[in-house]
Symmetry: C2
Subunit: 236 residues, 2 copies
Amino acid sequence: MSKAAGEPVYQTIISDLRRQIIRNHLKPGEMIPSENELSARYQTTRATVRRGLQVLENQGFIHSWPGKGYYVSQPRHNIFTFEFPEDEWSGTVAYKNADIIHATPELCREMELDSSACVLRICRVIRNEKRVTAYDIKYIPYEKGVPLLEAEIDYSVFPEIVAQKSAPFAFYTRMEIGVDTISGELAEIMECKIGEPVMILYRYFMDENGKIIGYGKKYIHSAYGRLKAESGYLNR
Amino acid sequence: MSKAAGEPVYQTIISDLRRQIIRNHLKPGEMIPSENELSARYQTTRATVRRGLQVLENQGFIHSWPGKGYYVSQPRHNIFTFEFPEDEWSGTVAYKNADIIHATPELCREMELDSSACVLRICRVIRNEKRVTAYDIKYIPYEKGVPLLEAEIDYSVFPEIVAQKSAPFAFYTRMEIGVDTISGELAEIMECKIGEPVMILYRYFMDENGKIIGYGKKYIHSAYGRLKAESGYLNR
DNA sequence: AAGTGGTCTAGACCACTGA
DNA sequence: CAGTGGTCTAGACCACTTG
């Protein structure tokens, strides 16, 4: 039961329990002291205790079981998060091109489109001082007659384009990470040899109803670097 | 202001505000009604209102600015999470081997080890009916004289091994995703041709002090599949 | 029946921001 | 200065679990 000067009581409760869990004095599956017990121990009310337990629950340290008590959770060390460096990641845009094409078989499949559909395609080549580091293709369903948005043609970042098609919060994203070797056409664009390995990031943007409102591929040259992700409980 | 029968008041508040944000009636950067305003509107107390706002804040929809009010946040659509399917992912273990080796230059670098250090190495080949899908190598610092743990030799999943070296919550993980083509030695192990592309997952386990307590590489054949990640605000 | 967490009320005092 | 969020008190009633 430590106490930093002026530290809120609920913070003290959080730190204390957190420390006990991390040091394994409270083990996964074990019950932690009840709200009433903690209220008494810290000379405070249930509301304040709950304030602290709420945080630990949000962070995945504990979970509550109504009628029984709070229990230490089983840690999940295989859930990772990463921040995807949208553009400007691997360099500057060296070439860009936007046009409207008919849906290819790939696009019909990936974007669940009719084969008569049209799609706005935005291609970009990204490079650093020495080489082409990435090749990026974005596809956005194109409704005939609907004027293009500045943002689309001007290639702001993908989520921003999509946000204007729906609303800032009204969509979700899926990413798939794959790998392949570079073939003919791509080798020319990326200025490298056929057979070199590339990472491919596929992105799907869906609206509230699951309708695909954006699809993209990004080829990243293996020499550029790695994608980094993290998981864990210590940095919270 | 909707109301489901028996739904807690704070839930109603959450749903209502959430809907307004997703529909873009409350826009990023805009202030939402104050706690007092909401208390009056829902005929409840500040405590109940705060209960709801807390949730929306945790989910990233809003943030509070003491003395000013609550504001709608800028959505982050480039933060992804994925669950890493530990083993049994791409098939069954076809071959395994554990031994103790001297730290190679790579290990000294990656694990921040002294060149005289010893390391427990666990290699595994994973395959499905048709082919080798992955090759997995785990490294764990080996202290001379310390007996090996059952778990290590028996190759339970990586986080579990590491958890026994410290404590279930007392470490964090970094993953890096890279790509390469298969070279000689690896081609033999993975039963494929030289030059085929592979995804490489590097994993680093650190304890509270940042000391590396586990390192691993997993080569995944491109034919196996993709790594999938998600982001967004709709599924919460 | 006693204990647990879930929800809620009706206040209080504080530090901070803005007009 | 009035308004905002941050913290906290001291209760209440409920549904649930356990002995």
